[in-house]
Symmetry: C2
Subunit: 350 residues, 2 copies
C-alpha cells in the first residue's frame, strides 16, 4: 500500500504506532528539528544544512569542548524513559561537563543513530526535550548527523562553551586542607532509576516523583559552575556523572591528595533515603555510588571562604561534605566512629 507521497504505509503488524523515522527523508527529519529551534544568533555564520557549520569564536575566551553519548540499553531504557527525557538527558550530561569546567555553554552538535522503527513522534519529542534544555542555557544547536542504527538508539552530543582565561576549573587544582562541597542533593537520580525499573518489573513499592524527575530530567549546574569559576571560589571541580564516590576519587587523584568524607554531612535526598531504606539497602552507600545526579563536587581553599559565602545563594545549595587530605587514602567517616575506604564508584564501561 502506497501513501499519496509514494511511501510505503506502516506495516499492519504495528497498526497503532503511526509513521516511523524511515517514512521520512533525512532532509525532512532535519527540517523537523529546525522547526523546534530558535533563530540562530549572529555569531553563527552558517548553521544546519551544509557540510559543516561555521561560527565566529568569542573574543578573549578559551573554548571548552566535550562529547558524551547515551546508548540505549546502557544509559537508558526506552521502556520507561520518555523520548523528551532521552533528549534532555543526552544534552544535560554534556552541559554538566561544561558546568564542571566553570564555562558558559555555547553550541551543540547532535549525532543520532536511530532504529528505523522509531515513531517520528518520539523523534520529535526527543529533539523537543533537547531543544528546550538548550534554549534554557543559551546553547544553540548548529549542526549534527543523522543515520540509522541496526541496533540500539545512540544519541551522541558535542557541546562547546567558553571561559575566561585562568577561570577554567579542572579536577586537579585541590590541595590538602581544601574543603569539599557538593551542590544540591545526591542519590535521587539512582533511586529514581530503581523506581522506574521496579514499575516495569511490577514490584509494588512507594515511588517518589521527585526522584523520578531527577533521573529523567536532571538539571545541569551551569549557573553554579559559572559562579564558582568566575569568582575563583573553587580550586577544583568535577561533576557527579558516575556518582559522588567516583567523583571524589577522580578529583583527589588528579589533585594528588587524599580525601576524608563525613557520611553524616552528605546531602542525601529525602526521597532517595526513604527508597533505599525501604528496599533494605544501606542508604549512604547507595547514595555515594549511585550515578546520574549531575551535581558538582567542588574543592574550596580556606582563602576562598569569603567568596563562597558571597555566592552561596546565587550558586544554589552547597553542602560541605569533607576535606582534601595530605594522606593519599579516600576515607569515609561514619557517625558511629568507623572510618572506612569510600566505596568504589560505578564504571560505565564494564
Amino acid at each position: 500500500m502506497q501513501s499519496e507521497t509514494g511511501r510505503t504505509a506502516p506495516a499492519l503488524s504495528t497498526p497503532a504506532a503511526g509513521p516511523t523515522v524511515v517514512d521520512f527523508t533525512e532532509a525532512e527529519l532535519i527540517a523537523r528539528v529546525r522547526a523546534q529551534l530558535p533563530k540562530a544568533p549572529d555569531w553563527v555564520a552558517l548553521g544546519i544544512g551544509d557540510d559543516a557549520c561555521v561560527v565566529q569564536p568569542e573574543k578573549n575566551r578559551l573554548e571548552v569542548l566535550t562529547v558524551d553519548a547515551l546508548i540505549e540499553g546502557v544509559h537508558f531504557d526506552r521502556a520507561f524513559t520518555p523520548p523528551a527525557a532521552i533528549g534532555h538527558r543526552a544534552l544535560a550530561v554534556n552541559l554538566s561537563d561544561i558546568a564542571a569546567m566553570g564555562a558558559e555553554p555555547r553550541l551543540v552538535l547532535v549525532s543520532l543513530a536511530l532504529p528505523q522503527s522509531l515513531p517520528v513522534a518520539d523523534y520529535d519529542h526527543m529533539m523537543g526535550g533537547l531543544a528546550a534544555l538548550a534554549a534554557r542555557y543559551g546553547a544553540h544547536v548548529v549542526g549534527g548527523n543523522l543515520t540509522r542504527s541496526p541496533g540500539p538508539m545512540m544519541v551522541d552530543i558535542t557541546v562547546t562553551g567558553t571561559v575566561k582565561p585562568r577561570r577554567a576549573l579542572t579536577r586537579g587544582g585541590a590541595r590538602p586542607g581544601h574543603e569539599l562541597y557538593v551542590t544540591g542533593t545526591i542519590g535521587a537520580a539512582s533511586a529514581g532509576l530503581e523506581m522506574l525499573q521496579s514499575r516495569v518489573a511490577s514490584i509494588s513499592a512507594p515511588t517518589d516523583d521527585d526522584c523520578i524527575q531527577r533521573y529523567l530530567f536532571p538539571e545541569p549546574r551551569v549557573r553554579s559552575g559559572l559562579l564558582l569559576g568566575r569568582t575563583r571560589t573553587a580550586s577544583a571541580c568535577i561533576d557527579l556523572s558516575d556518582g559522588l564516590a567516583d567523583a571524589v576519587r577522580q578529583l583527589a587523584g588528579a589533585s594528588g591528595t587524599g580525601a576524608r568524607i563525613d557520611a553524616e554531612a552528605l546531602p542525601i535526598a529525602a526521597g532517595a533515603r526513604r527508597w533505599f531504606q525501604s528496599r533494605g539497602a544501606d542508604d549512604v552507600h547507595a547514595a555515594v555510588v549511585g550515578g546520574d545526579d549531575y551535581e558538582l563536587l567542588v574543592a574550596v581553599p580556606p582563602r576562598a571562604r569569603r567568596q563562597l559565602a558571597g555566592i552561596l545563594g546565587a550558586a544554589g545549595p552547597l553542602t560541605r561534605i569533607g576535606v582534601c587530605t595530605a594522606e593519599p587514602d579516600i576515607i569515609m567517616h561514619y557517625p558511629d566512629g568507623r572510618a572506612l575506604p569510600l566505596p568504589t564508584g560505578y564504571s560505565h564501561f564494564r
Copy 2:
C-alpha cells in the same frame, strides 16, 4: 582464573582472541590511545582527562565544526574492514567535510561505543589508524568519550577546523554558467566495497587493490579544499560522501540552479570501470550513484578560470564534468546523444 592484575582471564570459548576491551578499565583504554598520539600543541590548554578539554581559539579565523558517525552494519562491516581502516575512515569522512568548507583541520573529539567482545588489539589498531590520519593533516585528538555498546560498534567523530572570514566554501554559492569540477576519480570506493563483499561471498572475480584501498583508506581532499577556498577559485563546494549524483543535486539545490553533467567527461577510475563492466553493470550509473569516494565537487565561475589554472597542480587532479544551468533540471548528457535525469543518489538513512 585470575591474572596477576586480578582481572578475569578471557573465557576459554574464545581462546585465540586475546584480551578484549572489557579486560581493561576506561582509564587504561584512554591511556592506550594517548600513547599513540603526538604531544599536544601549545593551543591546547587542557587535553584528554578532565570533564572537557580547553583550547585557545585561533585569532582572526572562523571556526568550522562537523560531526559524523560510522555505525557497524550500516557504514562498515567488520568481516572485511580492518580495524585501522575503521579508525581511518571514521576520521576521513569528517576531514572531508572540513575540506569541503575550504577549512584547515584543527581538533578531533572521538566518541566510541564498543562491543565488550572487541579485542583490545583491534581497538589499538583502530585508534592507530585514526591517529595516523589526524597527524598527517595536523589535527589533534583532544578529547572523547568511551562507552560500551550492547549492539554494533559506533565511532562518532567531531572535527573542528578554521577558515579565514569570507573564505569558507558553501554548497549554495554556484550560479548558472559556473562550471562543475570534481577532484580525483570516482567510483573506486564503491567498486572496492563490492569487491570486498564478493570475497566474503566467495564470488570469484578479479578485484583491484587500488579500488579496495580507496574504499578502506579514503584520502580526504584537505589540500584541494584549502587551495580552492584561499584563492577564491570555487563559488561552491561539497564532498561526495553519498556519491557524485547526490552531491550535484545538493549543490545545485542549495545554489538554486540546475546542472548539466557530461557522462563522457566523468573521471571514472579505470579499476572501477573494469569491475562494474565485468559484473554486467552500467559503469557510468554505478560510478555516479556510488558513495564513499570523498572527492570534492566544485563550482568555478568563469572569472576564476585563471585562479584555477594557477592551482591545478597543487590542488591535485580536477576534471571539468559539467556546468550549472538556469533551467532547474539535473541532466546527464551521454555520448550517444541521450539527455536523461541524473540518477538519484544513495540515502544513508533509509
